[in-house]
């Protein structure tokens, strides 16, 4: 155990010593993001057509969180019944979409992938559109989310079955089948949209397709929150294997990772997370595509570090996008999908140019 290559060929030190620019030590970064999220929750809850100062927001929230009952004050109603659940749901949805994006990008080893690439949102749309055009209300207020989730799950099931080749899931087939099935479902949505006579239904459908959190209430919060929290936990445990998966089929085999089984597992988990959040928020684009890249720019590609950052950034981003959606043409509301594009794209392009997105340079 004596020979090292180092002794024989000393590397060019000037080229070698270039540490990666670290913004902050990792734990500090996590703490800053968590604090920013907590602060943003307070601020964003206060912002709206009726402004409420942050200290009053804090007082109202503290009152309720310590078991206090409803009071007659208008601000109490607005803050506790309407805005706070909505802000929380925005954070949950943002975290869920961003996480799902990070996982799908890793699973199909493609940086332009997002949870919708595999046909999920188109499936959810079909479910939602069927409810909106037929006026079905079998499950009351939950009819729409349940139908949207069922649509997403159905689309994913079709994609998984069709992409399967001798029991294995391979990235390129997944992308091809996902895109194809997505187009098929989008066709169904367009058909339903064109056929319906009710312009009110059409309006609702368009709004749903662009996404929004206006339906948020306490009742819609627990299921997505639990699913996203569970998803974070299950993903973090497998972050190391996800790293191996990103290196490819052969590397996975060499490192003792059952790549095919891991892909199945991760895609089903992604479907659950995406389907659940899309069901309550509609088709909010862009978060799942961009936030994982921002996280990689900050802390590198190791999923053990980037997944928590992705979740926090996604939560922050969607929370503020929703504030903008509420405020820009207040008292009316913009679909949040428009905001994520208007805010997110310029921001992402600026950051990318400033820091350099080196994701694909290595592929040469």
């Amino acid at each position: 155990m004596t020979t090292t290559i180092d002794e024989l060929a000393a590397p060019d030190a000037s080229r070698a010593r270039r540490p990666r620019a670290a913004v902050l030590p990792y734990p500090a970064l996590l703490a800053v993001l968590a604090a920013a999220l907590a602060g943003s929750t307070l601020l964003a809850t206060g912002v709206g057509p009726v402004g409420v100062p942050a200290d009053e927001v804090a007082r109202i929230l503290a009152h309720h969180l310590t078991g206090g009952g409803d009071t007659a004050a208008t601000s109490d109603l607005i803050i506790w019944r309407i805005r706070f659940p909505r802000v929380l749901l925005g954070a949950v949805v943002g975290a869920g979409l961003a996480l799902a994006g990070a996982v799908v990008q890793g699973v199909v080893r493609n940086p332009v992938a997002d949870p919708y690439l595999l046909g999920l949102s188109h499936g959810a749309s079909v479910g939602a559109v069927l409810v909106l055009t037929t006026g079905a209300a079998a499950l009351g207020a939950l009819t729409l989310p349940v139908a949207a989730f069922a649509g997403a799950a159905a689309a994913m099931a079709v994609v998984l079955v069709m992409a399967r080749h001798r029991g294995r899931l391979l990235p390129v087939r997944l992308i091809l089948v996902g895109v194809a099935i997505g187009h098929l479902f989008a066709g169904v949505t367009s058909f339903a949209l064109a056929r319906t006579d009710s312009s009110a239904a059409q309006q609702q459908i368009i709004f749903w397709l662009l996404g929004g959190l206006s339906g948020a209430q306490w009742a819609t919060l627990p299921v997505p929150a639990a699913v996203v929290a569970g998803g974070v936990a299950l993903l973090l445990v497998r972050a190391r294997r996800l790293n191996a998966l990103v290196l490819g089929e052969e590397a996975g085999a060499a490192l003792g990772v059952n790549t095919s089984r891991l892909r199945w597992y991760l895609l089903i988990l992604t479907t659950l997370v995406t389907g659940t959040v899309v069901a309550v928020s509609g088709g909010i684009g862009f978060v799942g595509l961009i936030v994982p890249h921002l996280a990689r720019m900050l802390v590198g590609a190791d999923h053990r570090r980037m997944l928590p950052v992705t979740a926090l950034l996604g939560a922050l981003f969607l929370l503020w996008a929703d504030v903008a959606a509420r405020m820009l043409i207040s008292p009316a509301e913009l679909p949040i999908g428009i905001l994520t594009a208007f805010l997110g794209v310029p921001f992402f392009l600026l950051v990318m140019r400033a820091r350099g997105l080196a994701t694909q340079e290595s592929a040469s």
């Binding site: 155990m1 290559i5 590397p11 070698a16 052969e250 290595s362």
Partner: protein, 279 residues
């Protein structure tokens, strides 16, 4: 660790690629796998590092069926340096090498001091210490090859499988990497293109041709001019030069009669010999 490849057959897309290959590598032995392109070298290695299950036959490590083990256990025994184009996201050198510990860690295990030591040692031995925090994508092909070797070493395997480990490397690093591997003292099965390197570093050479094992033994026994002509379709002269074996290879003569190209001269040499004989 003893590796037994036992009547392994593999067909890809209906075309047989390996036909009942039998090969044993004894503990601590370095066996080079040589053969022309398409002879099945990579496929045989893939059956050993569990990337392709054999259609028939078995691969055994110390007598235990490799393909019956859990994937992680197999990977604790077997390290691999494969021909691989890194197309993942931007991992750093240290992160990539740390992935070599994956088979040793359960879902809930954290990186221990022993894991970190294994990674540090692998980085050190491959001369990558100054590169630790560089992104793999920024490195040259040769440096990347060393990163992959470091990842395999971090696995602390008892069998190392190498597929063309000297690809992308300059002459110096070709020798360095094989020397390092030989010095590990573990069992090695390496597909090599260069007969010189095979003869120089391997204890035994196994020759594959069209999916069949056509020879296995000490380099000087197996790599004879006749065998080389038959397997690689080139003319060879073998020189034994103070313990080292050297191969002079040239294409077989396909020049028109009487008119050998200057770079070939096979026939002229033959003609000269004939003239001498007549006189």
């Amino acid at each position: 660790m003893r590796l037994d490849i036992d009547a392994v057959s593999v067909a890809l897309g209906g075309r047989p690629v390996l036909h009942e290959v039998d090969l044993t590598v004894h503990p601590g032995q370095f066996t080079a796998l040589v053969g022309p392109n398409g002879s099945g070298k990579s496929t045989l290695l893939r059956a050993v590092y569990r990337a392709r299950r054999p259609d028939a036959g078995a691969v055994r490590l110390d007598g235990r069926d490799l393909w019956a083990m859990p994937a992680a256990e197999a990977a604790r025994h077997t390290g691999v340096l494969m021909q691989e184009q890194h197309t993942g996201f931007e991992f750093t050198v240290a992160e990539t090498v740390a992935l070599g510990r994956t088979p040793h860690l359960g879902l809930f295990d954290r990186f221990t001091r022993a894991d970190r030591a294994a990674v540090d040692e692998a980085v050190e031995r491959t001369g990558l210490t100054p590169y630790r925090d560089r992104r793999v994508g920024e490195l040259s092909g040769g440096e990347r090859q060393r990163v992959l070797l470091a990842r395999a070493l971090a696995q602390q395997p008892r069998l190392l499988v190498l597929d063309e480990p000297t690809n992308h490397l300059d002459i110096r690093h070709q020798l360095d990497i094989l020397e390092l591997v030989r010095d590990l003292g573990i069992t090695v099965l390496a597909a090599l293109h260069s007969l010189d390197l095979a003869a120089c570093y391997a204890d035994t050479v196994a020759v594959l041709r069209a999916g069949r094992l056509v020879g296995h033994g000490r380099p000087e026994e197996v790599l004879t001019p006749t065998a080389i002509a038959e397997v690689f379709d080139v003319d060879a002269t073998v020189h034994h030069d103070g313990g080292a074996t050297r191969f002079a290879l040239r294409p077989r003569c396909v020049c028109p009669e009487q008119l050998c190209h200057w770079s070939c001269r096979t026939r002229r040499a033959a003609a000269l010999t004939e003239t001498t004989d007549v006189r």
